[in-house]
């Protein structure tokens, strides 16, 4: 039961983070490699608010979410003028610097040993902390899925995609690209920090290792790429694929020491494969082609056969 609760928790965390990243990455064309920092910000803020400032957990989650939104706004201020690989590299450096700060600011974050686990008082149910948090995150995932789905076809969603495809054209059409990008980053920061704040209630200790760039940010970017599309359902599909890849590599018959390295090795291989496929846009094309191929090979013959039987 504990295994399934753990698996469910990981799935909803990855799904939520992939949903959060899909807006700047898939819609806005901004490759953000520092999502782990926003998640860590949420987790640490909630722990600091509960233990130091003696806030009620619900208010602590609100404070953490607000901190994430402020972080998103700062990211927009600092990095938005850059684009392409330079922007991605800047977010990568932010991720490295952020983890260094969390590891070394002993008086605030507890350094490498981190902060002790939070009490499970978020939902007063008689079930394990992991299951409680997994349920809360599942609910959040559903709510955000609906929000993102609504945003996809809203003016905001279209403006973000227009700014990505042709910023000058979008400006001429009356869209303020700077404002749209600011809102996009704020939404991303807010959602990521909220996930971190809720996840913190299921962690035995809040330590920087959980939010490391290679452990958290890289798989989430991979989930967004493997999802193969812009719509929220694609992000969820990507989350399932990444979790399956991770679980599959965990089951390989190798020594325990090697097993710790294999999941990241697979992520590295996946990144090289994605780059060889020509980046995310090409991968999306491959996914669409694959879907068409499946439909031709499996679905159509099935429908035709059924038609014959009906006749």
């Amino acid at each position: 039961m504990s295994y399934f609760a753990d698996l469910a928790l990981r799935l909803v965390v990855i799904a939520n983070l992939a949903l959060a990243l899909s807006i700047p990455f898939r819609w806005g064309g901004r490759l953000i490699l520092s999502q782990g920092i926003f998640v860590a910000l949420g987790a640490y803020m909630v722990a600091i608010s509960v233990f130091r400032w003696q806030l009620h957990p619900v208010f602590a989650v609100l404070v953490a979410t607000l901190a994430g939104a402020v972080g998103g706004w700062l990211l927009a201020r600092i990095a938005a003028p850059l684009n392409g690989a330079t922007f991605a590299l800047l977010t990568f450096l932010l991720a490295l610097a952020g983890i260094e700060v969390f590891e070394n600011w002993d008086s605030m974050t507890g350094g490498r040993t981190g902060i002790g686990g939070l009490p499970n008082i978020l939902v007063p149910l008689d079930i394990s902390p992991k299951t409680t948090v997994a349920l809360a995150l599942l609910l959040m995932c559903l709510i955000f899925f609906l929000i993102v789905r609504f945003l996809f076809k809203s003016h905001f969603g279209r403006a973000v995609r227009a700014a990505r495809d042709d910023a000058t054209g979008a400006e001429l059409d009356g869209i303020s690209v700077a404002h749209v990008e600011r809102d996009m980053f704020i939404l991303f920061g807010l959602h990521s920090a909220l996930v971190g704040a809720l996840w913190a209630f299921a962690l035995p200790r809040i330590i920087p290792e959980y939010f490391d760039f290679a452990v958290l940010s890289l798989p989430i970017v991979l989930a967004c790429i493997l999802g193969g599309g812009e719509e929220p359902r694609h992000s969820l599909l990507g989350a399932v694929l990444v979790l399956a890849l991770d679980e599959g590599t965990q089951q390989l018959p190798v020594s325990p020491q090697v097993r710790a390295d294999v999941p990241l090795l697979m992520v590295g291989i996946a990144y090289v494969a994605v780059a060889l496929a020509g980046g995310h846009s090409s991968l999306m094309r491959i996914a669409v082609r694959f879907k068409g191929h499946l439909r031709r090979r499996l679905w159509k013959p099935l429908v035709q056969r059924r038609g014959v039987r009906d006749d």
């Binding site: 260094e100 890289l218 294999v262 590295g268 996946a270 090289v272």
Partner: protein, 314 residues
């Protein structure tokens, strides 16, 4: 003051070696190529060096083996991956993703091969001896590293002034024109990959000799200062080149200025990290380095270049 200046020399030499190897690949694309995989090459070559040294082959042979391994890896990456990506004309982000992937693959393979980090070197009495000079206490290997880095810098300065520098510059401006007018750019890029890999491995081996212990995050500690040095030197070179009168300014002006600026920026960065280590606690050194890189990236050459391009487009 003099003591700080002198004691920052070994760090500056390491930064410089990393920057020269990183800068070569960086210059192979017009908008710059972030070759993060150099960190992975460095880790793997240091593994070769460590194992060779443990087998009793001696320091010179171990360094030579590590350098050959680094060169082979650099060449393999260029030929098997970057050449394919160039042919497909992929975006800078796809290059970055590929480089990340390679960095992770090489790091993990090194971890599987070498077992648990940190790696430590057997004590070599001769290289660990301290040499007193103007109040500074540096080891023999640190002085030797500084000497080797200076010699390499001089060699680079001579080579960059000549035909090689001109070819590299021409290819950076337009690979298509280079192929048409001069010859095969793929050959030149293969040589760049080979030399940068060899330099990264050589620098890594010297870094390992200086620090004795190699931790798992050493790749980032090696690459990030190289970012700072290359980005800030590019910005300064561009700024200084603008002061050269137009009738004297050539396409080579910036590149000629670049090499001494690499040395200057590497030394300034090493002094900064020395000061940070003394004023704050040593662990904040990496944060400061990353902060400087962020500022260099945001407000330096690239940021300005992109804004100028956006201005032209608008």
């Amino acid at each position: 003051m003099i003591k700080t200046l002198l004691e920052s020399i070994p760090d500056a030499a390491t930064f410089l070696l990393a920057a020269i190897s990183f800068g070569m690949v960086w210059a192979s694309r017009r908008e710059g190529l972030f070759h993060l995989a150099l960190g992975g090459i460095m880790i793997c070559s240091v593994g070769v060096f460590n194992r060779a040294d443990s087998a009793g082959l001696g320091i010179p042979t171990s360094i030579a083996l590590a350098t050959v391994a680094g060169a082979a890896l650099g060449l393999a990456i260029e030929v098997s991956l970057y050449r394919v990506l160039r042919r497909r004309n992929v975006s800078g982000e796809a290059f970055l993703l590929a480089s990340f992937g390679l960095l992770i693959i090489l790091e993990r393979l090194a971890s599987i091969w070498l077992g648990t980090m940190p790696l430590s070197l057997e004590a070599h009495r001769r290289i660990a001896e301290r040499v007193d000079f103007l109040g500074s206490q540096l080891t023999a290997i640190q002085w030797q590293t500084a000497g080797l880095a200076s010699a390499l810098l001089l060699l680079c300065a001579i080579v960059y002034r000549g035909d090689w520098g001109q070819r590299l510059n021409a290819m950076r401006q337009s690979g298509f024109l280079y192929d048409w007018r001069v010859g095969r750019s793929s050959m030149l890029l293969a040589v760049v990959g080979l030399i940068s890999g060899a330099l990264a491995a050589f620098g890594g081996a010297l870094y390992h000799l200086q620090h004795r212990v190699l931790i798992e995050r050493a790749a980032m500690g090696y690459i990030v200062p190289a970012f700072v040095v290359v980005l800030s030197a590019e910005g300064l070179a561009r700024l200084l080149a603008s002061f050269i009168p137009p009738h004297r300014r050539t396409a080579r002006s910036e590149r000629i200025l670049l090499i001494p600026l690499y040395a200057l920026m590497a030394w300034l960065l090493a002094i900064l990290s020395q000061i940070v280590t003394r004023v704050l606690e040593p662990q904040w050194k990496d944060v400061i380095l990353l902060g400087v890189t962020l500022v260099a990236l945001r407000f330096g050459t690239l940021g300005r270049m992109q804004r100028q391009e956006e201005g032209v487009t608008a």
